[in-house]
């Protein structure tokens, strides 16, 4: 009897502690469960690409976790619009997973593969990606089977005049990723301060000598900084065609010689004497707004117009690209091998390629990201979506797009830059 009372009193005490400990997390857990929706695994195996109607049927009710860079309000707002539209028309719930670096997600997927997560066991359905990250995923087999060319709207993509939709940093996409938008190296500056914008790297040097401390580029390995260096490389290389081949020690030395001479001459006239470099192009944009720098860099030809609309740059800012061409590339969306909702991800990728979505994306007042489609081949109604008056700060004329060097050149250049200027 005494033993029983002893045990029961202990049990009562213990249960009181446990209730206290568990109550709060459980309460919040329950509340949170109502908020977030968990991914619903696809009930059937991936449907055959030929049967698009079946794909759309399967996709209904699924949730797509779209991991996309979220550092810009216009882009976030556009993705919100996409989410509303696919919900209304296809019954798909699109969750924008806000990331600041796609490499984080690649690492996560790689860790999931190492942990043995199966085909439905991932946390990412769709990923906004290009360049090195794509090459890494392709190399390590982290991608789902090819799907892009089978998408109904892919037929409108301009693969002829925009070859970067098929070769990502000279790496063939093989249908593993679906093109989304175009990017090209663009510069912007206040007309009041910069009357004649430099039209090549050589002119940039002249400009920097005349206006010391008023221009710079982001620190390598930020991709804007790397692209600035690549642009200089292409302009100063002895033979630019060698750059689309994988790099080796001899070609590297031969092609980059003039580049380092140029940079050595340029740096003393840059911001902070070339001893310190800004973290990113976005930080530079803020400095252009404040007047500390006079030239900003972007990949979005309509960036300046966006900033003017958002009241971060004065209305007298103009954009331009070098008259002989600047480096351009395409950015894509792709599916990892372990995406749980593959059907819905394909439907979303297809929607992103639709003329409606592409036109809205190209609209300056929304995002201003150039389209991957061949507008001339579209129907008259769709073509009308793409026309619009020129906005302040918007790019006046287009220039040739220079091909990116092979991805292997990037690593070599970055390493050498860090060795020379990075410490």
């Amino acid at each position: 009897m005494r033993l029983f009372t002893f045990i029961s009193s202990r049990v009562r005490q213990a249960s009181r502690v446990l209730v206290l400990l568990c109550m709060t997390p459980l309460l919040t857990l329950g509340a949170a469960h109502a908020q977030t929706s968990s991914p619903s695994p696809s009930p059937s195996p991936s449907p055959s690409p030929a049967d698009w109607a079946t794909v759309e049927q399967t996709a209904r009710g699924q949730t797509v976790y779209f991991n996309a860079w979220a550092g810009s309000q216009p882009i976030n707002a556009y993705i919100d619009w996409v989410a509303e539209t696919v919900k209304r028309e296809h019954g798909i719930t699109l969750q924008h997973v806000k990331i600041s670096d796609a490499a984080d997600v690649v690492k996560r997927i790689r860790t999931e593969k190492q942990a043995g997560r199966g085909e439905q066991g991932g946390t990412v359905d769709l990923l906004w990606i290009n360049g090195e990250n794509f090459a890494a995923m392709k190399r390590e087999g982290l991608l789902a089977p090819p799907f892009a060319t089978a998408l109904p709207h892919f037929q409108w993509v301009d693969t002829v005049k925009k070859p970067s939709t098929l070769r990502d940093f000279s790496e063939p996409t093989d249908g593993l990723e679906s093109p989304w938008g175009m990017a090209q190296l663009t510069f912007f500056a206040d007309r009041a301060r910069v009357a004649t914008p430099p039209q090549s790297m050589a002119e940039w040097l002249t400009f920097a000598q005349a206006n010391p401390g008023r221009s710079t580029y982001p620190r390598v390995p930020d991709f804007h900084g790397t692209t600035f260096i690549k642009q200089a490389l292409i302009e100063f290389a002895a033979d630019a065609r060698v750059l689309s081949q994988p790099v080796n020690a001899d070609t590297f030395k031969a092609q980059t010689q003039a580049l380092w001479v140029f940079l050595d001459a340029l740096h003393p006239h840059l911001w902070r004497g070339g001893k310190q470099f800004p973290q990113s192009a976005a930080a530079m944009t803020q400095m252009v707004g404040d007047g500390a720098l006079w030239i900003g860099i972007s990949f979005n030809p309509n960036q300046a117009a966006n900033e003017i609309t958002a009241k971060r740059l004065p209305a007298t800012v103009q954009s331009w690209q070098f008259e002989n061409g600047t480096i351009g590339n395409t950015h894509f969306v792709t599916m990892p091998y372990n995406a749980p909702s593959k059907a819905a991800a394909k439907v979303v990728a297809n929607f992103l390629l639709s003329p409606l979505a592409q036109a809205r994306k190209a609209d300056i007042s929304v995002w201003g990201d150039p389209t991957v489609l061949d507008v001339a081949r579209l129907s008259a109604a769709d073509q009308a979506r793409f026309s619009g008056a020129l906005q302040p700060g918007q790019l006046g004329r287009t220039v040739p797009t220079l091909q990116e060097p092979h991805a292997s050149w990037v690593e070599a250049i970055e390493a050498e830059w860090i060795r020379r200027y990075g410490q």
Binding site: L21, P25, L29, A32, D104, R272, G291
Partner: protein
């Protein structure tokens, strides 16, 4: 008969021991597991070799150590002086009321505010241009992101002083120690030592020894900080922690391996600091004796003497002003620095276009706050996560401090304080591996667990002094009155400790709100908190969004601190007639 003769302590209870073991395990297992997972990645000899070859690694490491040490030393000296002032003038209690607001300011917010003030296009220069300096454009000066890391040191210094001060003040408030130190301090004065010297020679050596763990935490934070270094620190080369973080985030596997090894190197640095600070005789001498000069000079006069002089005639106003400055100047300077920072954040969050010499923005915009208003899911996530992890940690700490025998507590304490001391990046790798294994990544429970691990040391540090200062004989009295242990806890001990409990809970809440890397990794990017949004937007360098989210990061903990101070208010007894 045999039963009656058994030693009483051995029989204290089996259930008691089981409970202690249970509580020890639920916390130490995740910690040990996480460390084990990291150790595997960090001990990669090929990557270590590659790291050594990196040209920027060595200067980055030197930079990290330099900034962490200098800011740690400055914070130590300032906190020592402030504690001396507070003790002699008995203003510590008043200061404690303001400290939570200072503590709640997130590190990133402080960094952003300093940039707003100190950068070449910052407010300081705007105020004096073009009238005094003649600048029409921001000069090309290295005031922030400077190669010596001075801006980073300043930000770290400003953020760490309130922390050390708060821990010191908590120690000085402990009932058991307080009376002893007060009497020793009074005794020293009767032996002829002026007040500040009495404090420096008698109280400070004892107090300083208890502040070593917090100092280690401060230096370790300085070594491992990423977000502040990104905003304020040099970029070429960046600090070692930033470098490690950038490598870990690279797509290339070799770079990631280097990043993991770099995190291991940082851990090694912290371990070295720990050994020096906690066990090194030389550092102990430096920390106590070496700072005595700063602690006692300029000499402090007790409040009564501030307004008098030797001859009974009130001293000249210059003398009085000097005394007031010595006594209150430092605290006032600290408060002013924080006020200016908050003001800068407030203005920055609504500033549109702001070309250089203008003192005020040319255009104002509410865009950032509208965006904040739209992100209610984010707010709810942050709040629920912080509430769950802080409450769990507090419940655990209360159970542990109540049940664990001293030997167990002493043995486990270094492990429990580890999440505070090791760089966050190390934990993130480890906790993510654990979460993957138990399939809790991207789930609420896993995320709460990860936050709980990071929050626990702070709650423990905050709760321990008060909890252990309770007179043990009170428990004996309650038992002798026939009331069970639970009745004693609920009716006597915990109500008495309410201020400390509430403060610890609020601190846990604030720490959880400020977590970035754990939410990002263990949450598999599924959960947006105010901090993840802030950092993502800060990466874009947009002043308005950065400031608005930094302000939001601050408002949540401040609200909780206010709530905690209200709930923890000591009882007001009715005024009696006699």
């Amino acid at each position: 008969m045999l039963l009656a003769n058994l030693s009483l302590t051995a029989r204290r209870s089996v259930s008691h021991r089981l409970a202690v073991i249970f509580f020890a395990l639920i916390v130490s297992v995740p910690i040990a597991w996480a460390l084990f997972a990291v150790a595997g990645q960090a001990l990669d000899s090929a990557a270590l070799h590659a790291l050594w070859q990196q040209p920027q690694a060595r200067s980055a490491l030197a930079l990290s150590v330099w900034t962490a040490l200098v800011s740690g030393v400055l914070a130590w000296l300032t906190a020592a002086r402030l504690l001396a002032i507070g003790f002699v003038h008995q203003t510590l209690m008043r200061w404690m009321q303001h400290l939570p607001a200072l503590l709640a300011t997130p590190h990133a917010a402080m960094a952003i505010a300093l940039v707003l003030w100190l950068s070449p296009s910052g407010w300081l220069l705007r105020l004096v241009s073009p009238t005094l300096t003649g600048f029409q454009s921001p000069p090309d000066w290295s005031t922030t992101q400077d190669p010596w890391g001075l801006g980073l040191i300043l930000a770290l210094w400003l953020k760490e002083v309130p922390f050390l001060l708060w821990i010191g003040a908590t120690q000085l408030r402990r009932d058991d120690i307080r009376r002893r130190w007060q009497s020793e301090y009074g005794l020293a004065q009767t032996l002829g030592y002026p007040p500040s010297a009495a404090f420096a020679r008698v109280v400070w050596p004892q107090l300083a020894l208890t502040l070593r763990w917090p100092l280690l935490a401060v230096v370790a934070y300085g070594l491992g900080v990423v977000d502040m270094a990104l905003i304020l620190g040099p970029t070429t080369p960046p600090t070692f922690a930033v470098l490690s973080w950038q490598w870990l985030g690279d797509a290339n596997v070799a770079q990631q391996a280097m990043g993991a090894v770099a995190a291991g190197v940082l851990t090694g640095c912290v371990a070295l600091m720990a050994a020096l600070i906690m066990y090194g005789r030389a550092t102990r001498w430096l920390l106590v004796r070496g700072t005595m000069a700063v602690v006692q000079w300029p000499p402090l006069t007790t409040p009564v003497s501030l307004a008098t002089s030797a001859h009974g005639v009130p001293p000249r106003w210059t003398v009085r002003a000097k005394r007031y400055a010595h006594s209150y100047g430092l605290w006032a300077a600290l408060l002013v620095a924080y006020l200016l920072s908050w003001f800068a954040l407030a203005v920055g969050s609504v500033s549109g276009l702001w070309p250089f010499p203008h003192v005020w923005p040319a255009q104002w915009t509410m865009g950032a706050w509208q965006q904040v208003g739209r992100s209610t899911a984010t707010l709810w996530n942050t709040f629920a996560l912080a509430l769950a992890s802080a409450t769990f940690c507090m419940a655990w700490c209360m159970a542990w401090l109540e049940l664990a025998p001293r030997a167990w507590h002493v043995a486990l304490r270094p492990w429990l304080l580890l999440p505070m001391v090791l760089p966050a990046i190390v934990w993130v790798i480890g906790l993510y591996s654990v979460a993957l294994f138990v399939r809790l990544e991207g789930q609420w429970l896993g995320l709460i667990g990860a936050h709980a691990v990071m929050v626990l040391p702070y709650v423990l540090l905050a709760l321990e002094p008060a909890y252990q200062s309770v007179d043990a004989r009170q428990g004996a009295v309650a038992a002798s009155l026939g009331r069970s242990r639970w009745a004693y806890l609920f009716a006597v001990k915990w109500p008495q400790l309410m201020p400390a409990l509430m403060a610890a809970w609020a601190i846990g809440f604030a720490v959880s709100v400020a977590q970035y890397l754990p939410t990002l990794y263990v949450g598999a990017g599924r959960f947006d908190t105010v901090t993840t949004e802030a950092v993502t937007l800060a990466a874009n360098g947009q002043r308005t969004f950065m400031s608005a989210y930094a302000a939001l990061q601050m408002l949540l903990p401040i609200a909780i601190f206010w709530l905690a101070s209200v709930m923890g208010r000591p009882r007001q007894f009715a005024r009696s007639a006699s």
